[in-house]
Symmetry: C2
Subunit: 120 residues, 2 copies
Amino acid sequence: MPILPISIVMQLTDLTARQIRYYEEQQLISPARTEGNKRMFSLNDVDALLEIKDYLEQGLNVAGIRKLYETKETPINDQAEPKTLSDAELRSLLREEMKHQARPFDRAFHRQGDLSRFFK
Amino acid sequence: MPILPISIVMQLTDLTARQIRYYEEQQLISPARTEGNKRMFSLNDVDALLEIKDYLEQGLNVAGIRKLYETKETPINDQAEPKTLSDAELRSLLREEMKHQARPFDRAFHRQGDLSRFFK
DNA sequence: AATTCGTGTCAGAAAATATAACATTGGTTT
DNA sequence: AAACCAATGTTATATTTTCTGACACGAATT
């Protein structure tokens, strides 16, 4: 259900329009479009953006995040758990994280439901 | 939480922009405004609009609906049950309804939660 | 020093929304 | 029947929001 304009998503995620559009360009999200080509976001999109933000803050780069979600039919949400990674992929990602002294995956995996704080 | 632009509210309620603006003018709802003066609706606003639509279809007029919700601090939502009406008020409203052969209050009172069908 | 990545910023165009005025439709009243 | 009024449609014009694309910049990498 795409119901949110980018301005609201900016507030909800504390991301700039530039960042949001960039993540779309990098295929991390695929918001819907109105007839007039305006982006419209679903709550899932917002969830995804919060997750992306979290990963970035943990030191992952966009390519790494994309890898995490690269599955045939499964964009960035629509799945309870991020896909299973090959050993090689996993080691690669972890190495990436180490370089930025971020503790390995934790918070991002619990992002599910974070949006709830916006709705009483 | 005002998060929805009028275009989405139109889809959600199947009302025209004209109708929505008119109901605001008639003080049935008070959507928030952006800095640039664009209306932004909360889910409560949408709920209220669905309720308004229902009442209108039952034959009530805007004045009657406004009466229903006329309370100091309580606009149209923010209350589990529409306010208690004086006998005079109630009789007046019922008379109004009779004229339009609508069965007395029923569906509108159960509108709460109707929005859920939009969110899985 | 030259690249790359993620983001900021700016310009110009197009879409969405705002207000205001006038028109129409249906029922009510005189 | 004529005049009214409430609710909504329609149209015009103004303003805001969003879009794309280009260029800039700082921090890493190579």
